[in-house]
Every structure is written in C-alpha cells, then in structure tokens.
C-alpha cells in the first residue's frame, strides 16, 4: 500500500514538473505562433487587396472608381456585372474556357498518371533521364512555342478550333502533371503492386484497383493545377483562337481601353472569370489539402 502511495506521489511530482516546465515553453511557442499568425495575416491581406479592389470597382460607377483617394462609401451598382454577362458574349467565352479546360484536364491527367506510374516503377537509371527531359520541356519558354503551334494549326486548318488549343495546352501542361503524379506514385510502396500481382492482378488491374484509388488525392491536385493553368492561359489562347473559340482571359483583355466605363466592366469580368474556379476550389478543398499533404506523414 505504501509503495502504491509512493508511486502516486512520484507520478504527481513528475506531473508537476511537467507543468512547471510547460508555461515557459508554451509562452515561447505562443509568441512564435502570434508572430507567424501576424505575418500570415499581412501576407493574406496583401494578396486580397487587388481582389477587394476588383470587387469594389466592379460595384462602382466609373466616377467613383477613379476617385483619389479611393472611397469606401459609394452607391453600389450591379450594372456592369449584368452588362458583362448579358451584352458581351460572356457566357459563350465562359463555355469556351470550360470546354478547353475540361478537355485539357480529361486528357492530360489520365495520360500523365499512366506515364508517372510507369516512371515510378521502372529503375531510376531509366526514369531519371526521362524525368529530366520532361523538366527541360517544362522550363522551355512557352512563348517560343506559340508561333510553331500557330504554323502547325494553320497547316492542319485547326486555327480557331478547340482541338488545337487543347492539344497545345496538354503539351505545355503534361510535364508538370507527370512530375506531380510521379511524386505521388513514388510514395506508394511497391509491395502493394507485388501483393496485387500475387493476388491475381495483371499490371493494369493492379494500377486500376490498388494504386489508383490510393493516388486519388494526388490526381485531384493534378487535375486542379491543370484546370487552373488551362483556364487562365492567355498567350496560346490569344494566338490560336478566333471568334468562335475565344476564351475568357482573351475576351476580358479586350474590355479595357475603350472608354472610362470599361474599367468597371473589366473588374466585373475578372470577378466573373474567378467565380467558377472559386466554386470548384471550395468543392474540392478537402481533397486538395489531403493531396498536397499526401506523403508528408506516414499513415
């Protein structure tokens, strides 16, 4: 009995000791966290100011929009949002953008995943040069590719078609998708492929039934990055599209410079172009965070 009491005392002492040391270290931790939080707030604010400016400008009349210093008290209007959506073929440009983006994602992600899986499963001596070559392609200035794509498109009579822009975007996007997915597949132990092979799977079945479900968060990230890249792409869209296939970034650029009211119009357009992406991001946020942290912690 006395021994139990002694042990309890010892434990409670140890607990006190732990509590004694805790305040100092937690105060330090707290101060660090406060500083970090403050820095992140400033950074976030810095990034949000242009967005806020765009939102406010889109709701202001041009006279208010050009007031210096900018005023927060004004009579809000949805006139320019309405005008953008109804009078400027915005819906058509948006649908062009969505078609091109969806086409790029639908082709680029599966091809990238297959290539990345293969590269993650062959010896490093063989995959290394291929990955380096892909990296080089990624680093190549894209502006230099615009003219060759235009020439090829003209030759094949594909200018102002979705196919040409989708193919061009896949070409510049594919190395990134492969690199990204390669990282995810490399984190999946090879033992699982081997266990699947012993359980009766051929290579395709192993990939489809065992590996792919595990790489789903990674694929979501790859899909989102591809979507962002193709949705926001300006240069290729400007060179390779025409009246029928013009995408939103190109269309919005043409809103500027006509008269003073075009600034509010361009701001409303910018908000409009952002909306689909914000909605998609909100819907896939959970997968995005999981995908970005995948492999960081062993489960």
């Amino acid at each position: 009995m006395s021994m139990i009491v002694t042990t309890e005392k010892a434990l409670s002492k140890r607990g006190q000791g732990a509590r004694k040391t805790a305040p100092g270290s937690s105060a330090l931790l707290n101060r660090g966290q406060v500083l970090l939080f403050a820095a992140l707030c400033i950074f976030t604010l810095f990034n949000l100011i242009p967005l806020l400016w765009a939102v406010l400008t889109s709701l202001k009349h041009p006279a208010d929009a050009f007031t210096i210093p900018p005023t927060l008290v004004f009579e809000p209007t949805l006139e320019y949002h309405k005008e953008v959506w109804l009078d400027h073929n915005f819906v058509q440009y948006l649908s062009n953008s969505l078609i091109v983006s969806a086409g790029t994602v639908i082709i680029s992600v599966p091809i990238g995943s297959l290539a990345a899986y293969a590269l993650s499963r062959i010896p490093r001596q063989r995959s290394g040069p291929i990955l380096s070559a892909l990296f080089t392609i990624r680093m190549f200035p894209h502006i230099l590719l615009a003219i060759p794509f235009f020439v090829m498109g003209s030759f094949l009579n594909l200018i102002d078609s979705y196919v040409l822009l989708i193919l061009a975007l896949i070409a510049i996007n594919q190395p990134f998708t492969i690199w990204l997915m390669h990282g995810f597949f490399s984190d999946i132990p090879r033992d699982l492929d081997e266990a699947a092979a012993l359980d009766g799977c051929n290579s395709w079945q192993s990939f489809r039934t065992v590996i792919l479900p595990l790489a789903r968060p990674g694929m979501t990230v790859a899909a989102l990055f591809s979507l962002l890249l193709s949705y926001n792409e300006f240069l290729f869209a400007l060179v390779l599209t025409g009246v029928d296939t013009k995408t939103l970034p190109v269309a919005i650029a043409s809103f500027g410079g006509e008269d003073i009211s075009s600034l509010s119009l361009a701001a409303a357009g910018a908000i409009g172009i952002m909306l689909p992406i914000v909605i998609i991001m909100l819907l896939l946020q959970r997968h995005l965070v999981r995908g970005l942290t995948m492999g960081a912690v062993k489960g």
């Binding site: 132990p189 033992d191 699982l192 081997e194 266990a195 699947a196 092979a197 012993l198 359980d199 009766g200 799977c201 051929n202 079945q205 065992v210 479900p213 595990l214 489960g299």
Partner: protein, 366 residues
C-alpha cells in the same frame, strides 16, 4: 500443398552475381526457413520463387512444374510481406477477399472462405475495419489471413515478424507454427533472426553472400555446424571461436594465438602445425578445478541464466550458467568444457573437422 525444387538457381544484376547455383529441395508440407545476415540473398531467392524477380539461370519447380516464366498469379502461391502490404483503402474483409474476387469466385464462396479464415486467425470482429485501425499484430494476422484464404500450394513469408515488438514476435511465431500444423501447407520463410529459424523450422537453409552454407534440421545445425560461419551465426550468444593450434607435447592442450593454454576434456589428435579454430558454445563451459583459468570481465544476468564475458589473455569468450554463481568482475574462474561441446575448424577453409578424424582413445599416461 506442393513441393518446391530449386535447381542451380542463379541471380545476377548485370555483372554482379548475387545468388550462386542454389539447390534446395522443400518437401511437400515442410516448413523451411532461409536464414542469413542482411544481403545474403535470402529475400531475393524468396522473390524468385514468388515470381517477383527473374531467374538468371537454373530452374524453380513448384509441384513438379517449372515456373521460371510463369507470372506470380499463375504460380498458386501466397506471400506475406515484411510490410504486410495490406491495401489501405480496403477493409479487412475486402483485403482478404481480394484474391478470390480477382479469380471471379462466387460472392457467397468469397464470404464463406473469408469468414473461415477470419475464424482461424481470430479476426472475425475486425472484418469491417481498415488496416490503419489495426495494431501491428492484427495487421500481421490479416496479412496471413489474406494468404490462407486462397488455399495456395505454397506460403512464402518474407521477414513477417521483424516489425513487431519482442513479445508479440514470440506470440506470432507460435501462431504461425500452429497455423502450419493445422493447414500442413508447404512454407518457405525468410528471416535474419536465427532464434526464429531455430524455433519454427523443420529445415533451415543458412545463406551467406549468395551461397548456401548448410542445410539441415535446427538441432543438426546447432550441434554440428558445417563451418565457422554457421557456428558463429546459429546460437545466441554465439559460439566462442578462438584461433590457435594443438600443443606439440600434450594432446589435452590447445594453445591460443596469444600463447594461453586451454585445457581440453579429451585428447585430440590433430597435427600441431595446423592452424585451427576451437569452438565452444557458452553453455558447454562448466566450473572445474582442472579447467582453464579465465578472468571475469562482465556479468550479464538474464534471469534464466547468467552470461559471463571472460578474458583469456586478450581473447574474449562468453559462458552461460544456469546456476547463479557468485562471480564478480575481476574474479578468476577455472572452466572446463564438455567433450561433446568441443568443435575444431580448419582456420584456412573454415570447415569443421569431423570428430571421428581427431578423437583419440584416452591413453593411460594422460
């Protein structure tokens, strides 16, 4: 059930040969353990049997049929991996039923077989859980369940217990052994732990640097190691191996490299010019007034016995005693050894000398 025959199997990666003409015969229903230090090629050999590694040369036969070019899924084998390799996105039940699903077996049959295997391995309550919700021992049992559900010809185990803590390892060792006794399936089991090999195997294959050093029953390897490597590898603490030669004047005496004399329990007839290594297992030492004097350096009580690290003119040796001897570091103690615990190895070849070649009848003058 099936036999496994490995005939002159060779494995090379480019110019580097990692397995050299391996020959092993595993009887139908036998439990064979491949044991050896890291890098000896035991896992590579197991993976060659599984079909996960190509065979550079030679043949592997399962149930009498050459399987060299067969895909792993067509070999009718099951393997338990060191990492368990459970599918993280599937429940225990889905993991276990996966191979049956791939074989397109009837759903009722799948359910019944999984239930039966789960009952054998006490997994019934865990069938709805995911691998991440299981402890190490439970994951291990699921990995075995996934293997037995298929009723394969051969089970392959690749260091399945090395991720478990010591207590669980002993428990799982018994479970695997009792499972084998129940199912009577042929097993090839890889481990680097010689205690695991000794306690589980019907037959042990000791490997080193891509060669087989010795094949035999656990006690056969322990009592009659073929060479210095096996003598040193099997047994814990390992056999004491001391270099030296026989005394020119007295066949009862072995002289170490440092000039110290070890008194032998019987006369030995080996050329005094021949360089030897004498081998004595720790438990074969006994306190004897006529024995050799050692200095006690360290005492390690394990509870069931006392292990004593000894010094003989710079040579280290370990002795193990069941009796709780009142020894202290620095003490001098005279130790003899039992006759059947004495081994001699040729220093150059490393091979053990057969006692028939050197044992003498005790002559009256000695």
């Amino acid at each position: 059930m099936a036999s496994v025959e490995i005939m002159n199997a060779v494995k090379a990666y480019g110019d580097q040969q990692v397995l050299h003409s391996i020959n092993i015969h595993v009887e139908d229903g036998e439990f064979v353990v491949l044991v050896g230090p890291s890098g000896c090629g035991k896992s590579t050999l197991l993976r060659m049997i599984a079909g996960l590694e190509d065979i550079t040369d030679g043949e592997i036969l399962i149930d009498g049929k050459v399987v060299n070019t067969k895909h792993p899924k067509d070999r009718d084998i099951a393997m338990v991996f060191q990492s368990y390799a459970l599918y993280p996105h599937m429940t225990v039940e889905e993991n276990m039923a996966f191979s049956l699903k791939m074989q397109k077996r009837d759903k009722e049959e799948q359910k019944q077989k999984v239930a039966e295997s789960a009952r054998i391995l006490d997994l019934t309550k865990l069938l709805d859980r995911y691998p991440r919700q299981l402890s190490g021992g439970q994951r291990q049992r699921v990995a075995m369940g996934r293997a037995i559900v298929r009723d394969p010809k051969v089970f392959l185990f690749d260091e399945p217990l090395s991720n478990l803590d010591a207590k669980l390892r002993v428990q799982m060792r018994t479970e695997i052994r009792s499972l084998h006794q129940k199912l009577k399936t042929t097993v090839v089991y890889v481990t680097h732990d010689q205690v695991e090999a000794m306690t589980m195997a019907d037959k042990i294959v000791v490997m080193h640097d891509g060669y087989i050093e010795q094949i035999g029953s656990p006690l056969n390897l322990y009592d009659q190691p073929a060479n210095l490597f096996v003598a040193g590898f099997m047994g814990s603490p390992s056999m004491n191996l001391i270099k030296g030669r026989m005394d020119r004047s007295d066949p009862h005496q072995f002289v170490t490299q440092n000039g110290k004399v070890i008194r032998l329990p019987c006369p030995v007839d080996i050329d005094p010019g021949r360089e030897l290594v004498i081998g004595i297992r720790p438990e074969h030492f006994e306190v004897s007034d006529e024995g050799t004097e050692f200095e006690v350096e360290v005492i390690e009580p394990t509870g069931s016995e006392i292990q004593v690290i000894l010094n003989l003119g710079g040579e280290k040796a370990t002795a193990a005693f069941r009796d709780r001897l009142p020894l202290e570091p620095g003490d001098k103690v005279r130790l003899g050894m039992s006759e059947n615990g004495l081994h001699f190895f040729d220093s150059q070849s490393g091979n053990r000398l057969s006692p028939d070649l050197y044992m003498k009848e005790v002559s009256p003058e000695h």
